[in-house]
Symmetry: C2
Subunit: 105 residues, 2 copies
Amino acid sequence: MQRVCFLLKVRQDRLSEYRERHAAVWPEMLAALREAGWRNYSLFCRDDGLLVGYLETQDFAAAKAAMARTDVNARWQAEMAPFFEELDGRPDEGMAPLTELFHLE
Amino acid sequence: MQRVCFLLKVRQDRLSEYRERHAAVWPEMLAALREAGWRNYSLFCRDDGLLVGYLETQDFAAAKAAMARTDVNARWQAEMAPFFEELDGRPDEGMAPLTELFHLE
């Protein structure tokens, strides 16, 4: 099992709307994430819009690829893209994992 | 159960040493964290030294307070303090949690 952490940057002026959207993620999107093996997946934000993602999965590359094959992900990422800074493509393509340097069970 | 995420900043020129130290955390420190209720605790770093902590615990304020009462934590934090930027006191006192805006089990 992999523990994955990634960072993104939400536009500060749209952070409250981003939070509202994530309080009501489409059930079809949640089902697709589960089906693709995303577990214990959280998003945390700092007031300036810095966003931290954490999840557990068997294989993050495979879990991302499985989502990339779904129509619902394409629709969701297209709606989320305008919320982000410093990203050329879709938000999910900017999820570069950080390095885990410590773990305690 | 609370999921907690916090950010710290390690000095980039000391990041490799910080990583080495965290590959060999004192067993007494690990035992103190477990005793204080820190679970599934990971530290992740970005190349520039940005550090993300993630943990699960019943009550983060209580878990921090329980660590603050231990001698081993005082010794560990004193050794870690020079690794950090932009912190007045000990690293563990700068662990301000981010806001969780999304969670999928």
